[in-house]
């Protein structure tokens, strides 16, 4: 495996938490298998000092190389008809066997056509880990929830015929020591495209975006005030709370792919979101038989809200990881 490509999603010129997590995951794989981590940034115009800062951040997070294509066209929200031309140019040159995309809505746009471009298998909600087989050969497990969310599927990326494009689930990046080596910065030209352009008529901040990098995600379908949940003193970093509203609908949860999902409802949901397995009791957990490296936990809570303090206490206990073995 010569090149491991990681697409980087930016907000305000900086990589998202999910992008840093994907980069660190790639670094871990590349260090064990002897590959080069190539980060790909497609962005609007960037000043030179900001580019250098970006290369430093990417280098500290594990990238050997930082390919940057900056053009005013990429100041708009990402679509395949725009960004695909750059990804085509890069993949034609690098021929990666493994591509990591960070959790988020941009990857939902770019992942499927990128996989088809490479003739690859697309693995959404992916996690990865290396193990050794009985004969000492490395195995690179790319795992995900099954489409019905009733189990785990795992593929050995080193044994498959096709390349793999993995949209990683959200995770908390490890702290890195500043001053590590800078990624080698390369500026790419703007390639031409044959696809007709998509016009962006208007855009605003996505209310769901904050939830996309969350490891602990609470979905409220109750009247419990968010302010009460925010009172949780022990709420760990990487936790997001959203309401199931038209502006941030639960249907986006399959893009968010948190490690732990908590759904709070006063009654059984008539159509639970696809990531929620209906519970037979007040609290249900999906898991925990998992292959190495997969840590998804889904919790579906039904509560009559008669004792919100107890509910908050329970949620805090779960969110702080006390249920982790």
């Amino acid at each position: 495996m010569a090149n491991l490509l990681v697409n980087i999603d930016l907000r305000a010129g900086l990589p998202t938490t999910s992008s840093i997590f994907a980069l660190q995951a790639a670094r871990s794989v590349a260090s064990q298998l002897g590959a080069t981590v190539v980060s790909m940034v497609i962005t609007g115009p960037v000043a030179l000092p900001d580019l250098e800062r970006l290369a430093r951040i990417l280098g500290e997070s594990g990238a050997d190389r930082a390919l940057v294509c900056a053009d005013p066209l990429f100041s708009r929200p990402p679509f395949w008809s725009d960004q695909g031309r750059v990804l085509r140019l890069v993949t034609d040159t690098l021929r990666p066997r493994l591509v990591f995309l960070p959790a988020g809505t941009a990857s939902a746009q770019l992942g499927p056509p990128l996989a088809v471009l490479l003739g690859a298998t697309l693995v959404p909600h992916a996690s990865c880990e290396i193990s050794l087989s009985n004969d000492g050969e490395p195995r690179l497990h790319i795992a995900r929830r099954t489409p019905r969310w009733d189990g785990i599927e795992s593929t050995d990326a080193l044994a498959t015929i096709r390349p793999i494009v993995a949209i990683l689930k959200a995770g908390r990046p490890e702290l890195v020591s500043p001053g590590a080596i800078e990624a080698e910065l390369e500026l790419l030209p703007m390639p031409a495209t044959t696809l007709p352009a998509i016009d962006v008529l208007s855009s605003r901040e996505d209310a769901f975006d904050a939830a996309l990098g969350a490891q602990n995600l609470f979905l409220l379908t109750t009247d419990l005030e968010v302010s009460r949940l925010n009172e949780m003193a022990a709420m760990p970093e990487g936790t997001a709370i959203i309401r199931n509203t038209p502006d941030a609908p639960a249907s986006n949860l399959d893009v968010a792919c948190p490690e732990k999902l908590f759904v709070l409802s006063e009654q059984s949901l008539p159509n639970p979101p696809p990531v929620v397995v209906a519970a037979r009791g007040n609290i249900a957990l999906c898991g925990p038989r998992k292959p190495p490296g997969t840590r998804f936990t889904g919790v579906y809570l039904r509560n009559d809200l008669s004792s919100p303090d107890k509910l908050i206490q329970d949620l805090a206990a779960i969110a702080t990881g006390k249920i982790e073995r």
Partner: protein, 226 residues
């Protein structure tokens, strides 16, 4: 304008239901065609009047069971061409492996633009050769204009704050069968149908129920490591 909505065999997913609803709401002189390629039962469509489905077309082939999304996508592209489609709409995870590649394969084969997970769609009165849609991407909630012809995928529709109202159900149109030979697919492609699940190991979940977080933790502790 012909709009082809790709639907599953048997019960349809909520993403496909959203695709049918959004296509039905397009307005204008549109004919909505549901297309299903299957080796199994016919689609179980719960149609409302708003879905405005005109035709239900089924392509039947015994080798479709768990076939590769690359083959299924090419077949759907050939069928969409045959049906003179100007637009193809699919659920965002509309292959049997739930990876969401089928729409991208159709888009590549037809060389049409692809936008994933649209939340709305309507014909642009000012420019009738485009669709206006709302979509989330890269931290933005954007309203976009997508030129026709195009491929759109839809996210599963979840109820916003409660039970969704379902209108009066209407009977689906009579099923039309389309022979695979009429679609211009090569025999080599059909012979290449393979089941990629042979490369996948599966592990089933064990569901635990508990009455409190403490109870849950205690039960978890009793489970031996995998």
């Amino acid at each position: 304008m012909n709009v082809v909505v790709c639907v599953e065999s048997g019960p349809i997913s909520r993403a496909t239901e959203a695709a049918l609803e959004l296509a039905g709401g397009l307005g204008g002189p549109t004919e909505i065609v549901a297309l299903c390629a299957t080796d199994g039962p016919e689609p179980e469509l719960r149609l409302t009047r708003q879905m405005r489905l005109s035709r239900l077309v089924v392509v039947r082939e015994p080798r479709f069971a768990a076939c590769d999304p690359y083959v299924m996508g090419q077949l759907l592209a050939c069928a969409a061409n045959h049906l003179h489609a100007s637009m193809v709409v699919l659920g965002s995870r509309s292959d049997v492996y739930g990876s969401g590649m089928t729409g991208a394969v159709v888009a590549k084969f037809l060389e049409w633009p692809l936008v994933s997970r649209v939340e709305s769609m309507r014909l642009d009165a000012a420019w009738p050769t485009a669709i206006i849609s709302d979509v989330r991407t890269g931290g933005r909630h954007a309203r976009i204009q997508i030129p026709l012809p195009n491929i759109l995928t839809t996210a599963p529709r979840a109820p916003a704050g409660g039970r969704r109202r379902i209108g009066t159900l209407v009977a689906p149109p009579a099923t039309e069968h389309l022979a695979i030979e009429t679609l211009g697919m090569s025999h080599e492609l059909l012979h290449s149908i393979r089941n990629p699940s042979t490369e996948i190991e599966s592990f089933a979940d064990k569901v635990i129920t508990a009455v409190s977080a403490a109870d849950l933790m205690e039960k978890l502790m009793r489970i031996p490591p995998p």
